[in-house]
């Protein structure tokens, strides 16, 4: 875009210089004509861009989308987490400003915290392929145009394929995690803003830790038995601190079991 603008500016300057050199006058209409001509070039260029987009091979477009889709789920969840944390933060602010009684505050806060835990659980669970990996798969012809959609739904299959090209994927996955972990932390910092909000912060660190733990034990996790909640009897991940069904805190005995 930048290069295009610079090019246009140079062209305009050259044209105007030519007009002056030939003894023409530069008045408002000249400028109007220059702008209109520029707009015409712009219009032709975007028509060209449309044609290019339409004549692109379908595979490229699909790969493009898959790469984006992999990020979107994560980002939505992260946004949701940030929103809930911000809500908790705002609630505490309201409480400190004297708008809520102690009881109300505790009750409302508990509700939000439950939602936050829910989101963080989901965020931990979400395991997606790195877009670059996908591209690599596409390059090797492992990703067919037709079954791209089915593939994204059927994770297990993709993972099996990923194992086939393990040497590449492992390195890349690790690289991604090391990239995303600090990013999470900065986001969390921003979300809670108030340094005083110790609890939210610790929640967040938990989740960051959880991320790391998941990566190391992701293989093991799939096979080991899940922890059961004492309150509702629902099944949870082995390292879960809160039940994902009822939100109750999972006791030390479950965690150790």
């Amino acid at each position: 875009m930048m290069a295009w603008l610079v090019g246009a500016a140079i062209a305009v300057a050259a044209l105007l210089a030519a007009v002056v050199a030939m003894g023409g006058r530069i008045e408002s209409a000249t400028w109007g004509l220059v702008v209109a001509a520029g707009a015409m070039v712009f219009a032709l260029r975007s028509l060209y861009a449309m044609t290019v987009a339409l004549s692109r091979p379908a595979v490229e477009a699909v790969l493009d989308r898959e790469g984006v889709a992999a990020n979107v789920g994560q980002r939505e969840l992260r946004e949701e987490r940030r929103r809930v944390l911000r809500a908790i933060n705002e609630l505490q602010f309201d409480y400190e400003m004297g708008k809520l009684s102690d009881d109300d505050y505790q009750e409302v806060r508990a509700g939000y915290e439950m939602r936050a835990v829910e989101v963080m659980r989901e965020l931990d669970k979400e395991s997606t392929l790195h877009p670059q990996l996908l591209e690599e798969l596409g390059r090797r012809g492992l990703l067919e145009e037709g079954d791209a959609k089915a593939e994204s739904e059927d994770r297990a299959e993709t993972e099996a394929e990923a194992e086939a090209s393990r040497s590449v994927s492992e390195d890349e996955a690790e690289a991604e995690e090391s990239k995303s972990a600090p990013e999470d932390e900065t986001e969390a910092e921003e979300a809670d803003g108030e340094a005083s909000d110790a609890e939210t912060r610790s929640d967040d660190e938990d989740s960051a830790d959880g991320d790391a733990a998941d990566d190391e034990s992701s293989e093991a996790e799939a096979t080991t038995a899940a922890a059961t909640c004492a309150t509702c009897g629902g099944e949870n991940d082995a390292d879960a601190k809160f039940c994902k069904h009822c939100g109750a805190k999972l006791g030390a005995e479950e965690a150790s079991a």
């Binding site: 219009a43 477009a61 946004e79 309201d94 004297g98 009684s101 979300a191 340094a195």
Partner: protein, 702 residues
């Protein structure tokens, strides 16, 4: 190839592009073909580029004075300043439609670019909706109102341009229509994303994140447009007021009201997952109202100072579009109703969501009231409507107000009717402006209620008492009969609504102060900070919240101005040179008349001097009458005013007898009127604080 032919060709290409884009988007969405969707996305950018080209061609035609084009011939003039030559582009109907298309395609292109990666699924549908809307307007341009249509020379006709309507050659008028357009046109983006959310069934709050800024943008520019229109009316029309409920001004107010409602209710959905259907309805209604507003302005169905003139084809086209919008969105909404169930329920009346709900109802009632009252006089022209009204509605109306009469002919609805019903609504809204921030989400307990409401209530009462004491004293200085719409018994200058308005301004104003004060206190308790630093930190941390409070502060200041309107003094009299008359606490002296002229008009200026009670000169006023050569029989009124914090002395002239110097003048004293403009400026600042991008939100910026 003439510019006229080239421009028409560009419009044809534009129309074909919109059709192609819509078809590509539809096919892409149906077949899940990424290639076609990408083509459609590029297509919408291309539509903008072509619209830009067509617009620039028209600009060139104005600058170069190509009077073979009818539109340029009618609106251009070789001697117009360049600035007006450029703005003549949107000065009249055809060009303003092209300007509309240009803005619409620009916004569509920007919105699609910003959200392309985030809401991949919504994009093809949003492109489809936007493509269809642009297609509609470009079809109007191509088939009905082509701004490039050639000017056929008839014998005796001049080749020279006529020049832009002189009333529009005013700095406010240059920016008033475009900012209204900006506000109205940008509503199409939230509508498109709302529709896309309905079609795809992704009706969670994701789509709203893409559109909240757009709605805010639209709200801001509608506000700027309205206030500039008010300033223009105040300075140009010479009747001493700024808002007369003119149909066209109402057309801008309607979507502004629904936008305000949406900006509040969207918070409820974000926070509590409630009001999903409601929010969609508000977005649809806002967009519908922008089209309704355009319909009112362009079709000539309403009588107004600045309707564009009669055009039945346009009326039918817009009517069709409005019906299509209502039907399509209603069908989609009903289809998706099961997905739109609320996650939570209202827990307590003393909660912020309830305050928001109330405020939404009030905004919507206000919009409905104004919308119906605007079209009502037009409806009463229709025979069948009068019969229907007399048969079905009249008995009900008669129950409410006993002095109503059955319809026999066209009726007019004047400003006093609107003011009578709108002022209680306004007062209720300003009360909620104070009430909302004081209560917490979900519920507020009794104890915190007391601590929250005590001071604002006390301050509100104090202000009311103070106003009750002060206003009669201020008035009694002059023994001039003033205009007082709702006076109580013996106290001639006590206005119930005025006092209530002052009280509520005090209440709400103090609420805002208290919010800032307590916020700063909490922040300073948690960290070592100075007051200013804490205040800045507060603003940066919760932009939306404190930006919103700044907007509220602006509203309070504006309401001060509205309250002052209850104490307006108006004198219409004939003055001769040398005469001194009293106006409230001022004296006005007539100092003579001056006649001048310039390249486009004759001017008669009356010199008036404003004196205080000690005969000290305060200011000189120069109200004038201008006769443009172009419109000899329509002199324009140039009002003049002496601005002060406590009010304006405002003068305009109705008639001048040149031989004797006797002048019929209208003198007004408008207390607190300038607070309306000040308040609006504050509101604008608040709006920009809200719209400003947070670092974390940058990726979601749209």
């Amino acid at each position: 190839m003439t510019i006229s032919a080239l421009g028409t060709a560009a419009l044809l290409v534009l129309f074909l592009m919109t059709v192609a884009t819509s078809v590509l988007a539809l096919l892409g969405a149906v077949r899940h073909s990424e290639r076609l969707v990408e083509g459609a996305v590029q297509g919408i950018h291309g539509v903008f580029a072509v619209a830009l080209f067509a617009s620039m061609l028209l600009e060139y035609a104005f600058l170069a004075g190509d009077y073979t084009i009818q539109y340029v011939q009618q609106n251009g003039h070789p001697e117009m300043p360049i600035f007006y030559k450029i703005t003549a582009f949107w000065g009249s109907l055809d060009g303003s439609l092209l300007f509309w298309v240009l803005l619409l395609s620009l916004f569509s292109s920007l919105a699609i670019r910003a959200n392309r990666q985030r809401h991949r699924v919504l994009i093809p549908h949003a492109v489809l909706v936007l493509g269809l809307i642009i297609g509609f307007f470009s079809a109007l341009l191509l088939f009905l109102k082509n701004p490039f249509s050639p000017y056929i020379l008839t014998p005796g006709a001049t080749m020279q341009g006529k020049g832009m309507n002189p009333l529009l050659q005013n700095p406010y008028m240059i920016f008033h229509p475009p900012s209204l357009y900006l506000g109205m046109v940008s509503m199409a983006v939230p509508f498109a994303f709302g529709m896309a959310a309905l079609i795809t069934g992704q009706v969670d709050s994701a789509w709203q994140r893409s559109v909240r800024r757009w709605v805010l943008f639209s709200w801001l520019f509608l506000g700027i447009g309205l206030i500039l229109g008010g300033l223009w009316a105040y300075e140009e029309l010479g009747w001493g007021g700024y808002w007369a409920w003119d149909p066209v001004e109402n057309a801008g107010l309607l979507p502004w009201l629904t936008c305000s409602a949406f900006l509040h209710s969207v918070m409820v959905q974000e926070r509590r997952g409630m009001l999903k259907v409601w929010n969609l309805v508000l977005v649809i209604a806002s967009f519908f109202l922008t089209i309704y507003g355009t319909f009112l302005t362009r079709s000539g169905v309403v009588q107004s100072v600045h309707a564009f003139g009669e055009s039945p084809e346009l009326a039918w086209s817009f009517g069709g579009l409005m019906i299509a919008i209502v039907v399509v969105s209603a069908v989609l909404l009903i289809w998706r109703l099961p997905l739109l169930r609320s996650r939570n329920e209202l827990e307590s009346i003393m909660s912020r969501e309830f305050a928001f709900l109330l405020n939404n109802w009030l905004f919507l009632i206000a919009a409905l009231f104004v919308g119906i009252a605007t079209i009502f006089p037009t409806l009463t022209e229709l025979e069948w409507f009068r019969e229907f009204y007399n048969a079905a509605l009249y008995p009900i109306v008669k129950l409410i107000s006993s002095d109503s009469k059955p319809l026999v002919s066209r009726i007019t609805i004047g400003p006093s009717f609107y003011n009578y019903y709108m002022s209680p609504l306004g007062l209720a809204l300003i009360f909620l402006t104070g009430f909302g921030p004081l209560v917490a989400w979900r519920k507020t307990s009794g104890k915190s209620l007391v601590s929250q409401f005590m001071w604002p209530l006390i301050v509100g009462l104090l202000v009311m008492v103070l106003a009750a004491v002060v206003t009669p004293v201020v008035r009694s200085g002059a023994d001039v009969p003033g205009v007082c719409n709702d006076c109580v018994g013996g106290m001639q200058f006590m206005s119930v609504k005025g006092l209530l308005c002052f009280g509520l301004c005090g209440f709400t104003g103090w609420t805002i102060v208290q919010e800032f004060y307590r916020g700063v206190r909490v922040r300073r308790k948690n960290r070592q900070q100075g007051v200013i630093e804490a205040l800045m930190g507060l603003m940066m941390k919760a932009r939306r919240r404190y930006g919103g409070y700044v907007v509220h502060l602006g509203i309070v200041l504006m309401f001060l101005g509205f309250a002052g309107n209850s104490y307006k003094v108006e004198r219409k009299l004939v003055m001769h040179p040398g005469e001194v008359v009293e106006l409230d606490q001022y004296k006005i002296r007539h100092d003579g008349i001056i006649a001048t002229q310039d390249w486009q008009k004759d001017m008669l200026t009356v010199k008036l001097t404003v004196l205080d009670q000690q005969d000290q000169k305060l200011a000189e006023l120069e109200p004038a009458k201008w006769w443009y050569y172009q419109l000899k029989d329509q002199p324009t009124t140039e009002a003049s005013r002496y601005m002060a914090l406590e009010g304006d002395v405002y003068a305009s002239i109705a008639d001048v007898t040149l031989s004797t110097g006797w002048t019929r003048v209208n003198l007004y004293y408008n207390p607190l009127v300038n607070w309306v403009w000040v308040g609006f400026a504050v509101m604008l600042i608040g709006g920009f604080i809200c719209i400003g991008t947070r670092k974390g939100d940058a990726e979601g910026a749209s």
